[in-house]
């Protein structure tokens, strides 16, 4: 569903990703871990096509990102949760969700039933539908950002540090929902700094250090691996 092969990227003269290779198979929840500056968000932006790969190949849903614009990803069934939520602050919660739905389903007729589903999954959203997204608390914004990615029922969801800035209680709730979405059959690439929580729900994991994969393997093995701990955990 998603594969990066020997990908290099840079911001101007500063190299970011150096020969990065990762793979996400259908039905998996893969966690990409790494400390600050490891290249996690650059990986997200590269997968989205916002940052272009200088070398290597990025395949998303069987399509080469070199010839596919960011705006075409959603129609392929890819839901995105960018770092810092990045909701449209002056648009209402419902309008944010509408955009997420239209993106994946191409303005299909089932917005209302899907909206109800999201409100069942995130009960706090229901009473905030008419409120400007920028006026929500951080936790609520995190839920809306996830709901916006899920509302079109994407096949693959890519999340960039969704737990950043959330309280421990909300982090638990957030990862529980993410795990539930995965159990229902959605493939997920979870880019995280919170290793315990991320690997706790993942099938496999990659540890990213200085733009390279330093270690990879099943999530449980990574959690208990001394080498992984010395690298990052």
């Amino acid at each position: 569903m998603l594969e990066l092969r020997e990908v290099d990227t840079a911001y101007g003269p500063v190299p970011m990703l150096r020969g990065l290779s990762i793979k996400v198979q259908p039905g998996e929840l893969v966690c990409l871990l790494g400390p600050n500056g490891a290249g996690k968000t650059t990986t997200f932006m590269t997968v989205c096509g916002v940052v272009r790969a200088l070398r290597g190949k990025v395949d998303v849903m069987g399509r080469d990102m070199a010839s596919l614009g960011t705006e075409n990803l959603a129609a392929l069934g890819v839901g995105l949760v960018p770092e810092g939520r990045r909701l449209f602050p002056s648009l209402t919660v419902q309008e944010n969700l509408r955009l997420g739905y239209d993106a994946v389903s191409g303005r299909g007729p089932d917005f209302q039933p899907q909206l109800d589903k999201m409100c069942d999954l995130f009960p706090r959203i229901r009473e905030r539908l008419r409120q400007a997204a920028g006026t929500l608390s951080g936790g609520e914004q995190a839920m809306v950002a996830l709901a916006r990615a899920l509302i079109g029922e994407p096949k693959l969801v890519i999340m960039d540090e969704p737990s950043l800035g959330l309280s421990p209680k909300l982090i638990d709730e957030y990862f529980e929902i993410t795990s539930e979405v995965h159990r229902r059959g959605t493939t997920i690439l979870l880019i995280e700094q919170n290793a315990e929580m991320g690997l706790g729900i993942a099938d496999r994991g990659y540890v990213l250090v200085k733009g390279r994969v330093a270690q990879e393997g099943p999530a449980r093995e990574l959690l208990s691996s001394k080498a992984a701990k010395s690298l990052y955990l």
Binding site: L73, A75, P82, F88, L91, L99, G100, D102, A103
Partner: protein, 305 residues
């Protein structure tokens, strides 16, 4: 005294509406593209020339003239200027979208000069002023002894209708929602499947068409049009947008009314005020930039450090 007050009130509302329509274009383009389109005034002021040419062409081709055909000619002009806006975006402005603001500014100033010179050289006797008819004539009503013309009612009602339509378009249509989303975060808008090229095209068409209507009303109010009217129309429209807050639609309307108000007050109460009216207007612009750079209804400018 009451008569003078009502007369100036009528002048204020008429001018304020025209400036507001000009300012809306600046604000819409800045709000969505984050580009100050300095040639917007020049683009807007091509509309009277296109309307005159279309009216003459209609008269020659099918031998018709009169108010109905003038209306047809103005509609042609509005549509044509909307298309000109789209073409200018495609050919010039698009290339400066991600460039430093200074480059876009210089490019659009240069574009304004090109437009003015093209009108001057391509339009028959383009250097000379051309009479432009009142789009509505006659007295509609009388208030406190002051006759209010149909033209004033046309300007006010057209402005109200356009503002309502624009708000409805931005709030209630899928394209409007996309335009608002792209104006807030272009990268995430693309992640939501929004094709920014389509959004920008629609924005330029709408802003330029509204500008064209302002240009027609401006020329009709003055009774004349000139190839260089775009400079003043652009400066006043841009100033109104800055005072109200670039990117804010209600701000653009408020800014237009304030600038027109200052002009009218200066002309009424300051000796030889007509000569100094622009001094007062631009002093206010400087004041707003000094004390409230985001404008009266604009959002504070946040700079990430």
């Amino acid at each position: 005294m009451a008569e003078l007050f009502v007369q100036q009130l009528v002048n204020w509302v008429t001018l304020g509406c025209i400036y507001a329509l000009l300012a809306i274009g600046f604000s819409l383009i800045f709000g969505v593209l984050n580009v100050i389109h300095f040639s917007h005034g020049d683009v807007a002021m091509t509309s009277p020339f296109i309307a005159l040419a279309a009216a003459q062409a209609l008269a020659i081709a099918i031998g018709v003239s009169g108010p109905v055909w003038l209306t047809v000619a103005t509609c042609i002009a509005v549509f044509a200027v909307g298309l000109i806006g789209v073409i200018l975006d495609k050919v010039v402005i698009r290339r400066f979208r991600d460039a430093p603001a200074m480059m876009a500014l210089v490019a659009t100033v240069a574009l304004g000069i090109v437009i003015r010179e093209l009108i001057r050289h391509l339009y028959p006797q383009g250097s000379n002023p051309h009479a432009f008819p009142r789009l509505a004539s006659g007295v509609a009503l009388e208030i406190a002894g002051v006759q209010v013309g149909w033209f004033t009612l046309l300007v006010v009602s057209l402005t109200l209708v356009l503002v309502v339509l624009l708000f409805a378009f931005l709030r209630l249509t899928p394209l409007g929602l996309r335009i608002r989303a792209a104006s807030e975060d272009r990268i995430v808008a693309r992640m939501m499947g929004i094709r920014d090229t389509r959004v920008f095209r629609a924005t330029f068409f709408v802003a330029s068409a509204i500008g064209a209507i302002a240009g027609l009303l401006f020329a009709s109010y003055a009774g004349v049009t000139r190839f260089d009217f775009g400079v003043m129309a652009g400066l006043l429209g841009f100033s109104a947008a800055v005072i109200g807050g670039l990117g804010s639609m209600p701000g653009a309307i408020l800014g237009g009314l304030i600038i027109a108000g200052i002009e009218v007050l200066a002309q009424t109460f300051v000796p030889d005020g007509a000569s100094y009216r622009l001094v007062f207007v631009f002093l206010l612009v400087i004041g707003v930039l000094l004390f409230r750079p985001e404008g009266l209804l604009g959002r504070p400018v946040m700079v990430k450090v």
